[in-house]
Symmetry: C2
DNA sequence: CTTGACCTTCCAACCATGGGAAGGTCTATC
DNA sequence: GATAGACCTTCCCATGGTTGGAAGGTCAAG
């Protein structure tokens, strides 16, 4: 099947399929006589794998490692879990950062009249007034 | 004062000060005879403003708007608050996305032995096994 | 005069994704 | 068999925030 069909079948668009090939995440596929890329069921399977990993927030570097682990039937599940835990920690850190910022901004917004008057605690805080 | 002192005084490093100038966030400063940028207390104040806004997660585009609102003494606080609320919504969306991913991955990690055995629900899920 | 710290501009990289140009190929329809 | 439209190819560029470095000018202290 051509790249467009593989994209439709996997949910990964053609542009990204070429990109994943570029960065070595996917092996270079066989080419037809017209130089079109040719994909099979196995490729679509890997593309779906990538799509699901992306949906869990894994970076392409992580996905590369996950694919290698997946291809290696005998790998210890320890390795997979460790990778997932590192990613989880990273996400928790990002969440905590965002929540910190959101909480602070929420407080400021709550104290801002938000009407026609010019005085505004949000700008005051940013300007370092009384902070 | 030179850019290095302004950086030290504001907490925004020199590289970023030049960048903010490039993208029009800051006015181009006066230059000394040696072409060095010259900054004053007002500039340091604006840089601190930018630093605090970045710490609240505002994009440079938002900060540009906030600076304009700040400089305009008569602006209605409504405008500031609206901008802040949009940013808050955006952050909440990002948090929700991350939490979704983290929850899903947590479940998978919890079900993975994480020992020497090869079977791993994380890879199974990514591969679409039983999913 | 030399050394080292500072400054200048310019170029490039990260990451994932998307847009688009310029050109080749296939398929359906007239 | 011509033409249209959908598909494919490679290539370059942009995003956003930040960092790194190269190559060169300037200044202060020794």
């Amino acid at each position: 099947m051509n790249i467009g069909e593989a994209a439709a079948a996997s949910g990964v668009n053609a542009k990204m399929i070429r990109h994943y090939e570029d960065i070595g995440l996917l092996p270079r596929p066989a080419r037809a006589e017209n130089r079109y890329r040719r994909y099979g069921a196995r490729d679509v399977h890997e593309l779906r794998f990538i799509g699901r990993a992306r949906a869990l927030g894994f970076s392409t570097a992580d996905i590369s490692a996950l694919l290698a682990l997946w291809r290696d039937r005998g790998r210890p599940s320890r390795d997979v879990r460790r990778l997932a835990e590192r990613h989880l920690d990273d996400m928790r850190r990002r969440i905590a950062n965002l929540e910190d910022m959101a909480r602070n901004l929420e407080t400021l917004v709550a104290h801002c009249h938000g009407d026609g008057r010019p005085d505004c605690p949000i700008l005051d805080e940013l300007a370092g007034v009384g902070g």
